[in-house]
Amino acid sequence: MSIHIHNVSKKYGSFQALEDISVDIQSGELVALLGPSGSGKTSLLRVIAGLESSDVGEILFDGQSMTERHPKERNVGFVFQHYALFRHMTVFDNVAYGLKVRPRKTRPSKQDIKTKVMELLQLVKLENFANRYPTQLSGGQRQRVALARALAVEPKVLLLDEPFGALDAKVRKELRRWLRKLHDEFHITSIFVTHDQEEALDVADRIVVMNNGKIEQIGSPDEVYTNPKSPFVYDFLGNVNLFKGRLANGKLMHGEFALDVPDSHTHTDDNAIGYVRPHDIHIEKTNMPGTVPAKISHIHLLGPIVQIELRREDLDEFLEAELTKEQFFQLQLTIGDQVYIKPKQLKVFIPEDYSI
């Protein structure tokens, strides 16, 4: 089912939780709402589910307005951050709940419910836990029960509120891969909320980056990562080095750097900030044109990636760079080494246009 969110706004008292949000979600898409806490991503999800009503705007499912509909009529599956399992019911009864509360006319028979629930428990690999109570399960298992419960009612839309937020890193990774697989099999339109950029980049077809109740950017993971539209998106999607300087004659002047910035000739002597990802910092042992000297102050070896902290000699500023292990061993770097650096790629934002 496709979802159209049309000019939705919501206020809690004087706090603007959502401001004029419009998103179109295609049928069968897996979309991530990404943003820091307080950015309005959960509010948006709850408005879509009908758990909260918007002040202004419309929600359409397949072109049909859902704005005035009660959550139980929207046919959405909602997975809560803290699972919200019914703790006085067994795993089986939790999953069966959505089917058992249907009106008599549309309620499946006891046998059908049983088959269906066991099928779902198999899908989430919990068929041996049917008679357990939620308190007897681990966090990851509980979240899988919550998923099975939401899927039992065959929702047209699956909404997940920070589904893996309360789990440890390893289980989290496993579950999100599993969610991706599940989505690829069932093609159910899904929206999930997260503040973890890695999770969003890893799982989603499209990412909606939100901040302060507004949408900063919508795009594929690759698009938002390599081509962020605002300093906020750049900053939020990964580590970043800031080069605060001035734009003049198509160059960003920053310390001894004079970095080419194409398409910036209209600006003269404007304050500007260059954004460079750590893996876009090029390190050389010999002085080449366009580089500046720096000293290595820290080296963190973390698996295949080596994080290097540098102190720039010209400005007394710290930088972060990332190398692959091969590059690192080729360069034979040690702490205290004098190196020469330059950014391979940078993105310039003018603070007057954007404020972070």
């Binding site: 589910a49 009908g50 758990l51 009660h70 959550p71 139980k72 929207r74 959405v76 599956g77 909602f78 809560f80 803290h82 919200a84 399992l85 019914f86 703790r87 006085h88 709940y97 959505g98 509360v101 249907r102 109570y133 308190t135 007897q136 419960r149 939401a150 039992a152 009612v153």
Partner: protein, 277 residues
């Protein structure tokens, strides 16, 4: 060295286990067990046939019926309406909420005789409320039920309130998003979670109502065989210096209350089992 064997002793994180356990035992024995056992010891001076004769006296039997019947009805009324009051106090915001919340405790604080007099003057055939009814409210079992409901009100409210506060709204939202209507959500999600607390409140209110004397004697009318409660029979016997007769009736009250509370606790254990694994 002698302290080599020390680590074998189970170590407790919180100190004072032995001290506090000993204190608890002493306290319960002195305050509860000792006085209660005196009742049994006193009754022992009666022969078995005398004992049976006293406790099966028709007037006494009628009073058991009145006492247990009215206490049960009052307990049930409190279980239902106390839950509603707790619900309103937790879920809704309205003016004077704090004051109403405070009023709930008033039956605890009020001397029961005062409550009895107040209720009697309201519900007597010529009282403010009593005059509107064809039938008698005060001086009938109905009046006793009203008095017992009044004094038992805080128990259910105060036991259900904190539990209700702890139920997250998410659980109800989950139920709604799965297609349940409000009644189903209440019956299948909220009520099972509240049941242990309601039962606790009910058993407290019921137990309190069984032993209530002060407020009831005013409103009951105390007609033998009709509106005479067991505590009053005991009082009457005491006034006639029939101490053994009084304790014999008290034994019946004590044993029956104990059995009833035991059953309620057992039911509670059954409903609670699901939450504690």
């Amino acid at each position: 060295m002698s302290n080599v064997s020390l680590p074998k002793k189970a170590r407790r994180i919180i100190p004072g286990f032995h001290l506090s356990l000993g204190y608890t035992m002493l306290y319960v024995s002195l305050l509860v067990l000792l006085p209660l056992s005196m009742i049994f010891i006193h009754t022992m001076s009666l022969s078995w046939t005398e004992f049976i004769a006293i406790i099966t006296d028709p007037r006494a039997v009628a009073s058991y019926k009145v006492s247990f019947g009215t206490a049960l009805v009052a307990g049930i009324i409190n279980a239902i309406f106390g839950t509603i009051i707790a619900w309103v106090l937790v879920r809704y915001q309205f003016p004077f909420k704090r004051i109403i919340d405070g009023l709930v405790d008033l039956p605890f604080a009020l001397p029961t005789a005062v409550a009895g007099i107040a209720l009697t003057s309201l519900y007597a055939p010529n009282g403010w409320i009593g005059q509107f009814f064809e039938f008698k409210i005060a001086f009938s079992p109905l009046g006793i039920i009203i008095a017992l409901t009044f004094i038992g009100l805080p128990f259910v409210v105060r036991t259900v309130q904190p539990v209700l506060q702890n139920i997250s709204a998410e659980v109800e939202e989950a139920s709604a998003s799965l297609g349940a209507n409000r009644l189903q959500t209440f019956r299948k999600i909220l009520l099972p979670e509240l049941a242990p607390a309601i039962l606790t409140g009910f058993s407290l209110a019921f137990a309190r109502a069984l032993g209530e004397y002060g407020s009831v004697v005013f409103i009951a009318g105390n007609m033998p065989m009709k509106t005479e409660i067991t505590p009053l029979i005991i009082m009457t016997k005491l006034e006639q210096y029939d101490y053994t007769g009084a304790t014999a009736i008290a034994v019946v009250m004590l044993v029956t209350s104990f059995v009833l509370l035991f059953i309620i606790n057992f039911i509670q254990w059954l409903t609670n089992r699901r939450f504690v694994h």
